[in-house]
């Protein structure tokens, strides 16, 4: 398959950035978008040009490194996949494909298609954990967790931290990301002791990083590679209110 590409090139954080045109020829329909970029980059390097910088690693949808806006859609025009999982057979031969970085105020562009998502790490550092030291933790089966609860916690815990939720949200809100962790730990008995502090600290850090507010567009759930449900946002809201009113 052959494609015309319009790719966002930006030298560094301060550069204004612009689109450049490339062609990708003879691409296998089973190749991923990133494997197509590999081909383009190999040609650029051989010609002595600066290759297109993009983040990627596991290439199987779990590490959360990759993330492009493809034809206007975060991780591409479809639902529930990461960029690395998007195969070229979903496009038509001869298509023009526009590739841009994730755009959200707290994700500054580092170069080309690479953005800085360390804001997510700082939100986690603010409270996304159970305070437990390494050592003699209680016997694992001493804490019973009904299957239904464990499954729901796992649904939330699947978040890969890619940032698609914030990049696709019209308000640039990171509520789904924060909710996934708050909800996972609020559901499990292990997380209950710190639920109040956790919800408050993580939301405060989210605001400090400059993420916007949630206005229930549900765009995040649609684009989340793991389909993390907005019901977790509802649980985050409850956790936050409960913490704010000082009840236990």
């Amino acid at each position: 398959m052959d494609f015309k590409l319009k790719v966002w090139r930006q030298k560094n954080r301060d550069d204004k950035g612009h689109f450049e045109d490339y062609t990708a020829k003879g691409i296998s329909e089973a190749a991923s978008v990133l494997e197509m970029l590999d081909v383009v980059n190999r040609e650029l390097v051989a010609a002595g040009k600066d290759p297109i910088a993009f983040d990627h690693d596991c290439r199987e949808g779990i590490c959360g490194s990759c993330g492009l806006v493809i034809n206007g859609g975060v991780h591409g025009p479809f639902e529930h996949n990461t960029t690395c999982e998007l195969r070229m057979r979903r496009f038509s031969d001869g298509d023009t494909i526009v590739l841009e970085p994730f755009r959200a105020r707290p994700f500054p562009i580092i170069k080309d298609l690479v953005v800085d998502r360390s804001a997510f790490d700082r939100i986690m550092q603010a409270g996304g954990y159970v305070t437990v030291k390494t050592g003699q933790a209680p016997e694992a089966n001493g804490i019973a967790v009904p299957k239904k609860i464990a499954d729901e916690a796992m649904d939330a815990a699947q978040c890969v931290g890619c940032g698609a939720c914030a990049a696709t949200c019209p308000n640039g809100s990171a509520m789904l990301f924060v909710a996934a962790k708050v909800s996972q730990l609020a559901l499990l008995p292990q997380g209950k002791a710190e639920r109040k502090e956790r919800a408050l600290a993580m939301v405060a850090q989210m605001d400090k990083e400059g993420f916007g507010s949630c206005s229930n567009t549900y765009a995040c759930e649609a684009k989340c590679p793991k389909g993390v449900s907005v019901t977790h946002i509802a649980r985050l809201n409850r956790e936050y209110l409960r913490a704010g009113f000082g009840s236990k």
């Binding site: 296998s28 190749a31 590999d38 190999r42 596991c58 986690m124 030291k133 209680p138």
Partner: protein, 637 residues
């Protein structure tokens, strides 16, 4: 140099607890005076960083990723072993120990393996306390499943994303310690050299991957938790950035590298489909619990698999290994798949795949049940191959997955450079010549949570440190060497991107140093690798600037190290005139095509010592003795 594994004596079941008591401690008030550098934030690195910081040490954590959570441990699918015996099927520390020693084809150190089995239960406790959402039974207790090489159910899991959940657990502990100030995290920084002063590891040189700037960082001890080197084969199940550079830098500074030829080829991966591929995708071994491996009995039978009647199918693993069936260890399953395909019985367009069929399990339990257990794997397969595994069998073929070899370490996980510790897949310690499924996660977390906090403390307490100045010749020298290394890559200015050399190397490795190795092929491989090295330094093209985010420099530097490692791996494979676990020498097999060990001559870990650019490495032998699990022929019949 005589290798001293520092294994304690006494009954094996008391060694670790006695040794913990015998080791020195650092007074809590003095701990913050010590700095420990940890490179890598996978399971081993994150868990070690969090645990050492909790003790009060000052921890500096480094990753070439932006976030610690991106480390490749995240991609582990199937599960983590622990000798809990929750299901009353006869499990115990002894049995996990035995299964691991036998699974490794009697090429691991008994004391290390026993310790691993001993702490396995604590790992599960620790992870549950952190809020890792393991799979549960309806009553709320933890669920388990079976993995290859074991006849019981001791594998704990979180759907098909166990590695992700365990890493996020360790990451949460790490994040808490970053928040508390015990750990300083340095993201997008790649280690480019090790600083050794007066024979001790005292720091690292790193390159900032965004600005290209080099900086030196000093410490009292350095821990490498930098993963495995499967990507020397170009195509593997590893993430693309996984590399061998950190351990090769340490090797060139005097750390021995042990058993590089012990590589694990995983039997259940999505087969190679074309040249465009940048990696191979694993389908978790757990699928072999409910999937049956088969090929048509007739060569070239191109019927739709559903139309091939039972009696015309060869369920070859069940036929050859009636007691373990589809759950034989990985090396055995991989070799048999290759053998069947070499006979021309493989399926798919290329003939290089076999069926993994879930029809029986789906008929028995329904699609919904299947989706609940393996949903993400089924979807991933469907997306990649465009074939629906609920409707037709998966096609699978072996691929490089894990490397048992790595830097040589003693019982303390300390390398031959004092003060340099090595954890997780980067060391060679626990899996012998073959790792059992669901044991990598166990080992990474055992090293980080339960071994290093003791042994690193002992080292720090027992060592008198002189202050190292930032302008000391060893520090400035390492920094200068690192800069020269980058200039050298930029200076070749040929025509060929690093990726092309990597591909060439991978091709040689897979064809001649892969699943079946023989003397002639290995000798050819060594010659070809030397040629690749020559061409690399003559015709490499790195575009862009060194003072910028430049992924071509990163890649070129890694490929240069892969070439050197590839040669060492082939050299090790050539010297080991026996077959064991993942190392299969065609010349050494039983009449039934199983591995034929030579315990008389090869019951040792081969620890290779660097002896200078272009010089042949020196072999040192770490002799293995078996007091508890007497080597026998490994049978899974």
């Amino acid at each position: 140099m005589k290798l001293d594994p520092k294994v304690p004596t006494g009954p094996i079941e008391k060694r670790w607890s006695q040794h913990k008591f015998d080791m020195k401690l650092v007074n809590p008030a003095n701990r913050r005076k010590y700095t420990v550098i940890i490179v890598g934030t996978g399971l081993a690195g994150s868990s070690a960083a969090a645990s050492l910081a909790e003790l009060g040490f000052n921890v500096e954590s480094f990753s070439f990723h932006e976030s610690p959570r991106r480390a490749h441990s995240i991609a582990a699918q199937g599960g983590i072993n622990a000798a809990k015996n929750y299901v009353n099927d006869g499990d115990s520390v002894w049995r996990l120990f035995h299964d691991t020693v036998k699974g490794g084809d009697y090429r691991a150190r008994e004391s290390n393996v026993y310790r691993l089995a001993e702490v396995s239960g604590n790992i599960i406790d620790q992870c549950v306390a952190q809020g890792v959402p393991f799979a549960r039974e309806y009553g709320g207790s933890l669920d388990t499943r079976s993995f290859g090489g074991a006849q019981l159910s001791r594998t704990f899991y979180a759907r098909g994303q166990t590695g992700q959940q365990l890493l996020l657990g360790a990451y949460s502990a790490l994040s808490r310690n970053i928040h508390n100030g015990g750990v300083t995290f340095h993201g997008r920084k790649e280690m480019v050299d090790l600083i050794v002063v007066d024979g001790r590891a005292r720091g690292i040189v790193v390159r900032d991957l965004v600005t290209g700037e080099l900086s030196t960082h000093l410490a009292n001890a350095v821990i490498l938790a930098t993963g495995g080197y499967s990507n020397v084969f170009y195509l593997s199940t590893n993430a693309l950035a996984c590399n061998t550079s950190a351990i090769m830098k340490a090797w060139r500074k005097g750390a021995y590298l042990a058993n590089p030829c012990y590589t694990q080829i995983h039997p259940t991966c999505i087969p190679v489909a074309g040249d465009y591929q940048s990696k191979l995708t694993l389908m978790s071994e757990s699928l072999r619990n409910d999937g049956r491996v088969w090929v048509p009995k007739k060569k070239g039978d191109s019927r739709n698999p559903a139309q091939i009647p039972e009696e015309e199918r060869d369920y070859y693993l069940e036929r050859l290994y009636p007691s373990f069936g589809n759950l034989v260890p990985r090396d055995v399953a991989s070799r048999r798949a290759k053998e069947i395909c070499d006979k021309g019985l493989g399926v798919g367009k290329t003939g290089l795949s076999v069926y993994l069929d879930f029809a029986d399990a789906i008929n028995r339990n329904g699609e919904e049940w299947m989706a609940e257990k393996y949903g993400n794997l089924m979807d991933m397969y469907h997306e990649i191959t465009d074939e629906d595994p609920y409707k037709q069998p998966m096609r699978i073929y072996p691929a490089l997955h894990y490397t048992m070899g790595g830097l040589w370490v003693d019982y303390h996980l300390q390398s031959t450079i004092p003060g340099l510790f090595v954890a997780g897949e980067a060391n060679f310690s626990d899996h012998g010549a073959n790792r059992l499924g669901a044991s990598a996660l166990m080992q990474g977390l055992a090293d980080g949570y339960f071994v290093l906090p003791y042994t690193v403390s002992d080292y720090l307490a027992g060592t008198k440190f002189e202050a190292v100045k930032a302008d000391a010749p060893e520090v400035a020298g390492a920094s200068k060497d690192a800069k020269a290394g980058i200039d050298k890559l930029m200076g070749v200015n040929g025509k060929t991107p690093a990726d092309i050399f990597h591909r060439r190397l991978g091709h040689v490795m897979w064809e001649k140093v892969g699943m079946a190795r023989e003397k002639k092929g290995l000798e050819e491989a060594i010659g070809e690798i030397k040629n690749i090295r020559k061409d690399f330094w003559k015709d490499l093209k790195v575009s862009g600037s060194p003072d910028d985010l430049n992924m071509e420099i990163e890649r070129a530097a890694r490929v240069a190290d892969f070439i050197d490692l590839g040669e060492l791996l082939a050299t090790d494979a050539l010297h080991r005139e026996e077959s064991c676990g993942g190392h299969f020498r065609v010349e050494h097999q039983t009449d039934e095509g199983e591995t034929k060990r030579d315990d008389q001559n090869f019951a040792y870990a081969a620890a290779w010592q660097y002896s200078g650019e272009g010089q042949a490495p020196v072999l040192n032998k770490d002799e293995l003795t078996f007091e508890y699990d007497i080597p026998s022929s490994r049978s899974y019949k």
